[in-house]
Amino acid sequence: MNAGGTVTLHKPGPCALLQDLGRKGWQHLGFCQSGAMDEHAFLWANKLLGNRPACAALEITLGPFACRFDSATRIALTGAAERIFLNGEAVRPWQQLPVAGGDELRFDAPARGLRTYLAVRHGFDPDSPPMGASMAVREKTGPFGGGPLPPQCSLAFRGLTPAADRHRRLATPARFIPRYDMPLHLYLYPGFQHDSFSPHYIEAFFNTEFTITSRANRMAYPLAGDTPGCRQAHLMSEGTPFGAVQIPPDGQPIILLKERQTIGGYPKIGCLSHLDCFALAQRRPGEKVRFARGNLADSRYRLKTFYTFFDLA
C-alpha cells in the first residue's frame, strides 16, 4: 500500500456526504441509522472496484459536481449521473475508471435520478470513528460534523500499488442499471397499526397516485395525495424501521428513510420493502408514486438474494 492520496471537492453540489451501510447498535441511544440512501447504486460502486461492500463512498445529491485527485487510484460512479467528464473527456458511469494524479472529474446535475455514488478503490478513509463513516445531516453526527461536505474540502483515500492491485475492469451489465424515471410502485407490507385505519382510508391509500413533496430528504419522503384525513387513537411511541409508512391525522403518508428518528408516535400503516426504498431514494420531489400490497416472505427472499450478490449475506 502506498501513502494515501486525497481528492478535493471543488464543487460538492448541495448535499455531498460520506456514507457507508449505516450504523449498527446505536439506535437505542437515539442515533439514527444513516447510511447510503440507495444501496443498489452504492453497493455496485464498491463491487466494481473489488472493495469490501461497506467501504465509505461519496453520496452526491444532484450536482453540479467537480473534484480533483492528487494521486492515482481507480474510481467508479453509479446512480444518477450520466454526463460525466474526466479531464474534459466524456466517461461512462457504472464501470471502473483509472484516474491519475491531477485528474479532474466533473458532472452536471443529472436529468433524472437524484443521487450519484463515487467510490474509490479501498474506500474513503476517514479516521474510522466508532460509529463508522456515515454522516447524518439533521443529527450533526459523523465525519465533518454531519455535513454536507463544504466546497474545497479534501477526503483521504489509500493509495494504490499497481502491481499488487491488478483487478479486472468491471462494468455493471446493462440489465442491472435502473432507469430512475420509470413509474414506481411501492410494495407495502401491512403491519403495525394497519388494522386501526378505516377500510375507507386503506382503499383510498392503495388507489391514490401520490406526489413526492419538496420536503423529501434523507430523513423521510412526505407524500401528497387525495386521501382523506383519519382520526387516530393516541399511540405510545415505538421503534420505526426503514421504510415504515407513517400516517399523520391529515392522511398524507410519510415514508421513513435512512436518517429517520429512531422512534415515533404516528400510527404506521405498514412498511415498504428495502429494495423499493432504494429505488424511491432516486425519485425527486414532484414525481409520482403508488402503493401496492406486498408479500413479506417474497421481499425478504429478494433482499437476501440482493445482499448475497453483494457479498453481504
Binding site: Q27, H28, Q33, P129, Y189, F192, H274, L312
Partner: protein
Amino acid sequence: MTPAGNAFSISQVCEDAVIVHFRYQRIPAPELVRAIAACRRQLIAELPGLIDDCVASYASLLIYYAFTRIPVEDFIEKITASINTALCAAEERPPATTAVEVPTYYSAETGPDLARLAALKEIDVHRLIQLHSQTPYTVYAIGFAPGFAYMGFVDALLAAPRLDKPRKAVTRGSVGIADRQTGIYPSDSPGGWNIIGRTPLDIFTAAAGGRDNCLLKVGDSVIFKPIDRGEFIRLGGKLS
C-alpha cells in the same frame, strides 16, 4: 414458571425487523419498562451476532436482526424463549434500578416557560417546582435526538401541550414538559417542550465517542433536585 401466555406478542414488520408489543393496562408501569429493558439485555447477551439493533420504547421492543443468517420463524422462536426467561426472572426478582439524580436550576433565566406554565396552572412557581421534583420518573424511551430521554409521568396538574410553535433553539441541559412527560435536551436543538429549568449535567457526551457516555437509559429512575444559581454555576452550568 412462565409468564401469562398473552404477556407479549411478536409481529414481523419488514425484512429485517420484528416488533414485540408487551401488554399493559392503561399506561405501562415502571416495572414493565424495567422488565422490557431486562429482556433487551437478555436478547443481546443470548443472541450475539443475530441482533443488529434493539430499541425499547414504552411497551415495545423493535428488534433489527441479521435476517440473512436465520429464518424468521427460528428467530422468533429464539426470542420468544429469551423474552419468557427474562420476564420470569424479572417477576421473581425485579431487576436492579439505576437511580439518577439530576440537579436542576429552575428559574426564569433557565426556564423561559416556568412562569407562564405556573400561571396557566394557577399555582405559584415554588409549587410547580415542588410538584416536578418530588417524584421519581422512569425513562420510557430514548429518541427524537441522541440521548433525549422521555420520562414519565409528571403530576396531572403539570401536564402541558407542546408549544404551538417550536423554538428554533433550546439550550442543552434544558428540562421540559410535554403532555405528562418530562425530558432533558442533551444538546442545543430546536424543540417544542415547555422549558422550566436547566441541569448542569452532561446528559450525553458521545457525539462521536463511546456508547457508554449516555447518562440515562430506558428503565432508569430519575429524580430532579432543585438547586440554586450558585450551585448551578459551581457544577459547571452555563447561563446564556
